[in-house]
Subunit: 333 residues, 2 copies
C-alpha cells in the first residue's frame, strides 16, 4: 500500500491537521513507458505553502483531494519499457507527499553517480541549491568583492547563497532567527556576520555590518526585513525576490515593502525568480557544487525527520524556524 | 531686485503658504566666470516634493532658508569672462524658484537654435521628456509591439512615455484622473485606451484593455494603482519606478506594493530611475524628440501660470491634478 497525504482543505494561516487526509492507495499496474519509484525522502520547502493556495501563480495549485506536491528522492523499483531508467536508479523529481510514485519519468533526474550523501541531493544539490546558485549568480548578477546580505541565512537556500558569495570573494552578512543559527552561519559556513532578527535590531545590525550599504540583497523572507534592507541598498543594488516566508501564513494582506522608493533613489533593481526556469542548467550547477562540497569549500546540513504521518507537524518547522538545515522527511518504512 | 521663494519649514502633507517666504534679494555682482540669467519660466515637478524632505535621497534636500530648487528656462543677461555663454543665450538648468540666477554655468544647457516653442524645453524637451525617453527605452527596455501601461498619462512624463511607445508600435494604455484627461490622451495623443482612476475601477480597466497582461508598466504614482498593475504583469515584465505622486504628501508611512510577489510569479523586474544619470545623452534625446514634434508624431502641451507669488498655489495643481499638460510658472515680469 502507498501512504499518501491529500490536500482536503485550503489552509487559512498555518496548515492544520484537518487540512490533510492520510490516504492508503493501491499501487497501480505500470502502463507502457512507466516506472515505479519508492520514495525515501521528501523535501519540505516554503514554496509548498504557495502551492496550497488557489491563486494564479507560476505553477497551478494542488487540487483539493490530490496528493500534496513535494520534491522527492527515491529508487526505481520497476520499469515497464522505459529506456531512460533501470531498476535501482536513484532519482529526484516532484513525486509528491507519498511513499510510492508511478510516472513516465518526465521531470525526473537520475543521480548518476552519487558523490555525496543522498539527502544533499534534496538540499544543496537539489532545488534549494539550484535556487541559490542561479538566484545569486544570474538574477543577483553577483560580482566579486561585493557586499551581500541574505535572509533565511541558515536555511536550505540562504546558506548556499552566502557560501557561494564567500567563494566569490564577497563580504556576506546573514540574517537568521536565534543565536544558534547565527553562530552556525558565521562559525561553520564562514559568513562575515549574522544578524539575529529574533533578538537584535535588524536595521542597526545592517548599519553596523554594511556601513556603506549592500550591493545584493537575497530575500527569502519579505516583510520588515525586506524594508530594512531596502533602506540600506547601495547604488545599482540588486534585490533577488526568492521568497517571502514571513508572509506565507498571513491571514491579512501581504505587507508590501514601504521602502520600495529606495529603488529610485539608488537606481536599484528588484527581480523575482523561479528556479524551474533554469532546469536546463541544473547539471552544470550540480557538478560545480559537488566539487565545492568535495573540496570542503561548501558545507551542507540536512535536518531529517521520519514518518509520513508527521508531515504537517514537520512542515510547521519551516515556519516556526525549529529546524537545523534543509528540512527533509523520510517516508520509506 | 530678485524675488525668490525660500523654503522656511519642512512641509507636513501638502506644502502650506507658511512653509515659504517671498524674499527680495539684491542681484549680486558677477565674479570671474559667472553669468547672470533672467529666468522666464519655472518647471513645477512632482520631484520637488521630495527635495523638501530632510532625508537621504538621490540629491541633498533644499536647506531651510534656501531658495527652493526648480528647473528653469531663461536668458543670459550678463557674462563675466565665461567663453561658454554670451548675452542673449537661452539656457535651461536648475535655477531655483527666483527671477534671476547667478551661476558659473555648470549644469546649464544652451538651447542653441530653438526649433520649438520655448516652454517645450521645460516639458517634452526638458527634464520630464528626458525622464520619459530614457525611462521607457532604457530602464523599461521597451521592445516593438509590446503592451505598455503608464500612469499619470496626461502628465509631462506620462504623455511622452505613451507617445514614444506608440511610435515604437506598442499598444499603450494610460491611467489618468478624469474624463477630460482620458479623452485628451486617447483622442489627441493616440493612446489605445485610458482608464479614469477617479471614476472607474482600475483593475477592471486593466483586465479589459490588457487581457493578456502588460509587458511594461511605467509608474508615476505608486499606491493602489501600482498594486493593480503588479497584479496584471506579463512574464518578464519590467516596472519602471519613476515616481509615486500618490504618496508624496502622505502623513502616514508610504504604502508599499502588496502585490510585489507578482515579480516572482512572473519573473518581473522593478527598477528605479533618476533622469540625471542620463545627462550625457540629453542632446541625443532632444534631437530625436524635436524631430518627432516637428513631424507631428508627438504632441506637447504646457499649462502656464504666472507670478512667482503664486508658487505654492500653482504647485498644488501637481497634486490635485488641476492642470492640463506640463505645469509651468512664468516668473519674469
Amino acid at each position: 500500500m502507498n501512504k499518501q497525504i491529500l490536500l482536503v482543505n485550503r489552509p487559512v494561516g498555518l496548515p492544520k491537521d484537518s487540512d490533510w487526509k492520510l490516504n492508503k492507495a493501491e499501487i497501480p499496474e505500470l502502463q507502457e513507458g512507466e516506472i515505479l519509484i519508492e520514495q525515501d525522502y521528501l523535501s519540505l520547502d516554503p514554496a509548498m505553502r504557495g502551492w496550497m493556495r488557489d491563486v494564479r501563480s507560476y505553477i497551478p495549485p494542488v487540487g483539493l483531494g490530490e496528493v500534496m506536491r513535494a520534491g522527492t528522492l527515491g529508487r526505481v523499483l520497476k520499469v515497464n519499457n522505459n529506456p531512460k531508467f533501470k531498476v535501482g536508479d536513484i532519482v529526484t523529481g516532484i513525486g509528491g507527499v507519498q511513499q510510492f510514485t508511478v510516472t513516465n519519468g518526465k521531470g525526473y533526474l537520475k543521480i548518476e553517480s552519487a558523490q555525496r550523501p543522498l539527502t544533499e541531493y534534496l538540499g544543496t544539490l537539489g532545488m534549494p541549491g539550484m535556487t541559490a546558485y542561479f538566484g545569486i549568480l544570474e538574477v543577483g548578477e553577483l560580482k566579486d568583492g561585493e557586499v551581500v546580505v541574505v535572509s533565511g541565512a541558515a536555511g536550505a537556500v540562504g546558506s548556499v547563497v552566502g557560501q557561494i558569495a564567500k567563494i566569490k570573494g564577497c563580504k556576506v552578512i546573514g540574517i537568521a532567527g536565534g543565536k544558534d543559527k547565527c553562530d552556525y552561519v558565521v562559525n561553520e559556513l564562514g559568513f562575515d556576520a549574522c544578524i539575529d532578527y529574533k533578538n537584535d535590531n535588524v536595521a542597526a545590525g545592517l548599519k553596523e555590518h554594511c556601513p556603506k550599504g549592500m550591493d545584493v540583497y537575497f530575500d527569502n523572507v519579505g516583510g520588515d526585513i525586506l524594508d530594512a534592507c531596502l533602506a540600506r541598498i547601495s547604488m545599482h543594488a540588486r534585490i533577488v525576490i526568492c521568497g517571502a516566508i514571513s508572509q506565507y501564513n498571513n491571514e491579512t494582506p501581504v505587507k508590501g515593502p514601504s521602502n520600495y522608493m529606495s529603488l529610485l533613489v539608488n537606481r536599484g533593481t528588484m527581480r523575482g525568480m523561479v528556479v524551474f526556469d533554469y532546469a536546463a542548467r541544473y547539471h552544470e550547477a550540480r557538478v560545480q557544487m559537488e566539487q565545492w562540497l568535495n573540496e570542503g569549500k561548501m558545507k551542507s546540513k540536512e535536518d531529517v525527520y521520519e514518518g509520513i504521518e508527521n508531515f504537517n507537524e514537520t512542515l510547521h518547522r519551516l515556519f516556526n524556524g525549529d529546524k537545523n538545515g534543509k528540512l527533509i522527511l523520510k517516508v520509506s518504512e
